[in-house]
C-alpha cells in the first residue's frame, strides 16, 4: 500500500483531521478521492478516533441462494448511458461502475484498483483492477473504459455524464472532447485523464449512475442477455411489468454473490400497491416510502423501516428561455413568494430541512451558510411590477403525483404564491409523461436525487448547455465560478467560492427550492446486508435473503 505515490495534500488532510478541523466523513471522502485506499483511510481515522471503523464484511455467515423481489417501476432499459430516471437499479450489478460511492458517502474503487491524482488535480491515472472478466470470458481492459468514456462524452449520445465532465473534459462549447489526448491509454490496465481544468470529484463522477461500463461490442445497447462485468445478467425485461436478473456465478471477485436471482416488479402508479404487497409478503422491499405511509408500517412485525438523511430535493424549475421566466426578477419573485418552512411542514411533515433556493445542501461538505431568504410577498410583488407585471402573473406548473410529497409541496407553494400575485394552475401528470417533458416545459417541479458533493449537482443541472440543464440556464459568471470551485481541494477555500455561487443562484438562478428531505424505505426483515444509501441505491451483489 505504501509503494504508491501519496498525493501531496494527504499529509495536510491527516493533520486537519487529527486537529479536528474537518470531520471524519470529510477526511475519509477526500483521502480516498486522492487515492488512499479506503482500508488505509479507515484505519487512519480509527487510530485518531481510537476505534476500529472498518465496516464489518461478514459475508461468510449470510444465507446463500434465494429469490429477492422488490416493488419497482420498470422503464425502458435499452440505453443505460442515457438513463434519466431509474433504470440503473437493474443494471448496477449487471454492468458495473468504475467506482462505488457507499452508503457512508465515501467513494471507493470498484472496477478500478486505485486512482492517483496529480497535485494540480488535472491529471488522473485510473488503474484498472486486474483479473476482471466480462461475463463472456473476455478480459476487462483499458480499451473498454476508453470506449465507454468516449461514448458518454459524445454529445450525440445525450448522456448526463457530459454535464458532470463538461468543465474539465470538453471544449468550450461542449461539442467535443477538448483534446484528442484527453482520454489516454497508458497500458492495458491504465487510463490517464488529461483534464482541461482541475477537477476534484472525478471518482464520484465515475459512479454517476448512467456511467455503466458496457461492452463496446454491444454499442451502447443493453437488454436481455447483454454482456457486462457484474455477477448478474438480465434474463427477463418487460416495460411496465418486471425485470429479472439472475446470478451467473461468474463474478470476477471470486466470492460468489449470495442471491440466486432478483426481480423488480412494476406495481403501477398507485404508491400504496407496493406497500400492500410488502405487508402481505408478496415483495421483500419497496422502492421508497412516502412520509404518510410510515405510520401504517409501525406495527408490522416482519418489516424493517430504514431512513437516511439525504440531499434529495425537488425544485420549482423555470425555463429561462420561456416567458415570463426570461426575466431574472420574475424568478427571484417566485423565490421570495415561497415559504420554505411551511412547505416543509405541509409536504413532508417536517421530516427534512429547509432549503435555500440554491441547490447546495447543508450535508454537502462545501456548503456555505448564507443569511436566510425568508418569504416576502411584498418584495415579490414589487419585483413583478418592476418587470412589467403590476397585476401579477398567470402560469401553469407541471408536476407529478408520485412520490406524493411532490404534489403536496406544489399545492402548498401555489397557495403561498397567491399572496404575491402569482396565480399558478397545477397540471399533475403521470410520472412517465412528466419525465418526457421535464427538461423542456416552461414551468415544472422536478425531483432531484442526492449527490455527494454540491459542485456535482450544480454541474449536472445548471452549467450552460449540459443535457440535464432542464432550465436552459446559461450564465458565464456561474460557469466560471463553478469551474473554479471544482478545482479547489481544500474544503474551506472551496466554501468561499460556493458562497458566491449560492448567492448568485438566489439572486439570478432558475429555481425556487423549498426543502431537503429524508428518504425512507422498507424491507422485509429477511433481507440481510442492506444499508440505506442516500440515493436509495442498493447493490444486488451484496444483498442476501433468509429462507422463509
Amino acid at each position: 500500500m505504501r509503494d504508491q505515490k501519496e498525493h501531496p495534500y494527504v499529509p495536510k488532510l491527516k493533520q486537519n483531521f487529527a486537529e479536528r478541523k474537518i470531520d471524519r466523513r470529510e477526511f475519509l471522502r477526500t483521502s480516498t478521492l486522492l487515492g488512499v485506499s479506503a482500508v488505509a483511510a479507515y484505519e487512519f481515522a480509527g487510530r485518531i478516533e481510537g476505534r476500529s471503523l472498518l465496516p464489518k464484511a461478514s459475508a461468510a455467515d449470510l444465507p446463500k441462494g434465494g429469490h429477492l423481489r422488490l416493488g419497482w417501476r420498470v422503464p425502458e432499459l435499452d440505453s443505460p448511458h442515457t438513463f434519466a430516471w431509474g433504470g440503473s437499479e437493474f443494471t448496477r450489478s449487471t454492468c458495473e461502475h468504475l467506482t462505488r460511492t457507499g452508503p457512508d458517502n465515501v467513494t471507493r474503487p470498484w472496477l478500478l484498483d486505485r486512482w492517483e491524482a496529480s497535485e494540480d488535480l488535472k491529471t488522473w491515472h485510473l488503474h484498472l483492477r486486474k483479473g476482471v472478466k466480462w461475463r463472456n470470458g473476455r478480459d476487462f481492459v483499458a480499451d473498454d473504459v476508453i470506449w465507454n468514456l468516449q461514448h458518454v462524452l459524445d454529445p450525440n449520445t445525450g448522456s448526463s455524464v457530459l454535464g458532470l465532465m463538461k468543465g474539465y473534459m470538453m471544449n468550450e462549447d461542449g461539442s467535443a472532447v477538448w483534446d484528442a489526448n484527453a482520454i489516454e491509454k497508458v497500458d492495458d490496465h491504465t487510463v490517464r485523464l488529461n483534464c482541461r481544468n482541475p477537477q476534484l470529484a472525478v471518482p464520484e463522477h465515475l459512479f454517476h449512475y448512467p456511467l455503466h461500463i458496457l461492452d463496446p461490442e454491444d454499442g451502447g445497447v443493453f437488454g436481455v442477455g447483454a454482456n457486462g462485468t457484474g455477477a448478474y445478467e438480465v434474463v427477463e425485461a418487460a416495460i411496465g411489468q418486471k425485470v429479472v436478473i439472475k446470478n451467473t456465478n461468474t463474478h470476477w471477485w471470486g466470492d460468489p454473490v449470495h442471491l440466486d436471482s432478483m426481480e423488480f416488479l412494476d406495481l403501477g402508479d398507485d404508491p400504496n400497491a407496493e406497500l400492500n404487497a410488502l405487508i402481505s409478503k408478496q415483495v421483500h422491499g419497496v422502492s421508497e416510502l412516502n412520509v404518510e405511509q410510515l405510520p401504517l408500517l409501525a406495527n408490522i412485525p416482519h418489516v424493517q423501516v430504514y431512513d437516511v438523511a439525504t440531499a434529495r430535493t425537488g425544485v420549482v424549475r423555470m425555463r429561462v428561455t420561456e416567458e415570463p421566466f426570461t426575466d431574472p426578477r420574475i424568478r427571484k419573485a417566485m423565490r421570495l413568494a415561497t415559504d420554505c418552512g411551511k412547505t416543509l411542514e405541509l409536504a413532508i411533515q417536517g421530516l427534512g430541512v429547509k432549503a435555500e433556493h440554491h441547490h447546495v445542501c447543508p450535508i454537502h461538505p462545501e456548503y456555505a451558510e448564507l443569511p436566510e431568504m425568508t418569504r416576502d410577498p411584498e418584495a415579490a410583488k414589487a419585483l413583478l411590477a418592476e418587470a412589467g407585471y403590476p397585476d401579477g402573473i398567470e402560469v401553469t406548473i407541471d408536476c407529478k403525483p408520485d412520490p406524493s410529497w411532490e404534489i403536496a409541496a406544489v399545492q402548498a407553494m401555489v397557495e403561498q404564491w397567491k399572496g404575491a400575485g402569482i396565480n399558478a394552475k397545477i397540471n399533475s401528470m403521470p410520472s412517465a409523461s412528466y419525465w418526457d417533458i421535464w427538461d423542456k416545459t416552461a414551468f415544472g417541479f422536478t425531483g432531484w436525487t442526492h449527490r455527494p458533493l454540491g459542485v456535482m449537482v450544480l454541474a449536472l443541472a445548471y452549467r450552460s448547455g449540459v443535457p440535464w440543464n432542464e432550465t436552459a440556464y446559461s450564465n458565464p459568471e456561474f460557469d466560471a465560478l463553478l469551474t473554479k470551485a471544482e478545482g479547489i481541494l481544500d474544503v474551506d477555500a472551496r466554501r468561499e467560492v460556493m458562497a458566491e455561487i449560492q448567492a448568485l443562484m438566489q439572486e439570478d438562478g432558475p429555481i425556487a427550492q423549498p426543502l431537503w428531505r429524508k428518504s425512507f424505505t422498507a424491507m422485509d426483515k429477511r433481507v440481510k446486508n442492506y444499508s440505506p444509501h442516500p440515493t436509495l441505491y442498493y447493490f444486488a451483489d451484496l444483498l442476501a435473503i433468509e429462507p422463509a
Binding site: 416495460i239 406495481l267 402508479d269 400497491a273 402481505s280 412517465a432 418526457d436
Partner: protein, 310 residues
C-alpha cells in the same frame, strides 16, 4: 330466426365501422398530433415531417383510413410507444386477464343476485324483502375506490390473510383474485338483485300467477314453473350489461390491486397518450359493448316469443 341473427350481426358490424370512423377522425386526422405523440413532444418539425412521410401519413385521408382499417381487421394495431412493442402483444394478454377476473366476478354476482332478487320479489314488502333491499342499496352505494381501501385495510393490514396486490407475479394465484372480485361483487350484486326483484315482483302480480295460486297449485310449483322463467327475462339483459362493465369499466379495481388487466391498460394508454394503444383499447371496448348487446338482443327474442320479428 336465422335472418334475424344475421341482421343483428350485420348491425353490429355497421356500428363497429361507424365507431372506427369516429375514432380515426378523432385521433388521426391531425397527423401532426400523431407524430408528436409517437416520436415526442419536442422533436423538430423536420423530424416529424420525415416520420410522417416514412409512415405513409402523406397519403389522402381515405386511403389512410382504409389501410388502417385493413391492418386493424387482421389484428395489427401498430406499435405501442409506452411499451415499446406491438400493441397486439400487450393487448391480448391484458384482455385475457380481465376476462378471468370478470368470469370469477360474474360467477358470484349472477347466482347471488338472482337468488336474493327472487327471494325479495316473491313477497313484495315482506321483512325478507326489506332486509335484502336495504343491503343491496347499501353495498351498491359504496364506490369501488372506497370499498377497495376498506377491504384491503381489513384483510391485509388487520387480519393479514390475503395478498395485498394481484400482479400474479408467481403465476396465476386464485387468492390474489379474492379482493378484486370481492370489491366488484359488493359494488354490483345489489344492482342486479334490485332489477331481478322488480321483475319478479311484477310477474307475481300477473293474472296467470294469481290464477295458478287460486287454482290450488303448491306455492313452490307456481314459482318454479310459472313465475321464474318470465321473471328472468329482464335480469338477463341487465347481466349482459354487467359483462360489458366488467370488461372495460374496472379501471379503479385493477389499478388499486395492480392487476395487469385491460382496464389498467386503458388508463395507462390514455395517460401516456399512446395513440395506437388507445385506438386498439377503444375498439376492443366497443366490440365488447356491441357484442354483449347483440347477444342480449338475440337471447331476448329466444326467451320471449312475443317479440320475435320473423
Amino acid at each position: 330466426m336465422l335472418l334475424f341473427i344475421l341482421k343483428r350481426i350485420g348491425f353490429m358490424a355497421l356500428t363497429m365501422l361507424a365507431v372506427s370512423v369516429v375514432l380515426f377522425a378523432l385521433l388521426e386526422i391531425d397527423k401532426e398530433k400523431v407524430a408528436v405523440r409517437v416520436i415526442g413532444q419536442y422533436t423538430t418539425p423536420e423530424q416529424r415531417a420525415l416520420w410522417l412521410e416514412r409512415n405513409g401519413y402523406n397519403r389522402p385521408i381515405v386511403e389512410r383510413y382504409v389501410s388502417w382499417l385493413g391492418h386493424v381487421a387482421i389484428g395489427d394495431f401498430g406499435r405501442s410507444v409506452r411499451y415499446q412493442s406491438p400493441v397486439a402483444d400487450v393487448l391480448w394478454p391484458r384482455v385475457w386477464n380481465t376476462v378471468i377476473l370478470a368470469t370469477y366476478a360474474l360467477g358470484i354476482i349472477v347466482p347471488l343476485s338472482l337468488v336474493l332478487g327472487i327471494l325479495a320479489g316473491m313477497r313484495e314488502g315482506s321483512k325478507l324483502d326489506r332486509a335484502i333491499s336495504v343491503t343491496c342499496i347499501g353495498t351498491t352505494s359504496v364506490p369501488e375506490f372506497a370499498s377497495a381501501v376498506f377491504i384491503a385495510a381489513l384483510f391485509v393490514f388487520v387480519l393479514g390473510i390475503l395478498p395485498g396486490t394481484s400482479s400474479m407475479a408467481d403465476g396465476f394465484n386464485v387468492l390474489e383474485l379474492v379482493m378484486p372480485v370481492m370489491v366488484l361483487v359488493l359494488y354490483d350484486f345489489g344492482y342486479v338483485a334490485r332489477m331481478t326483484r322488480a321483475s319478479m315482483a311484477e310477474v307475481m302480480t300477473t293474472q296467470y300467477v294469481r290464477t295458478a295460486v287460486l287454482a290450488g297449485l303448491p306455492y313452490a310449483r307456481v314459482i318454479w314453473k310459472y313465475a321464474l322463467r318470465n321473471a328472468l327475462i329482464a335480469p338477463f339483459t341487465v347481466i349482459m350489461l354487467q359483462v360489458n362493465w366488467l370488461l372495460s369499466g374496472v379501471i379503479v379495481v385493477e389499478v388499486f390491486f395492480s392487476y395487469k388487466g385491460f382496464g389498467a391498460l386503458l388508463l395507462d394508454a390514455s395517460l401516456s397518450q399512446d395513440v395506437y394503444l388507445i385506438e386498439a383499447c377503444t375498439l376492443v371496448a366497443v366490440f365488447v359493448a356491441v357484442g354483449t348487446q347483440t347477444i342480449a338482443d338475440i337471447a331476448y327474442t329466444y326467451l320471449n316469443p312475443r317479440i320475435r320479428f320473423t
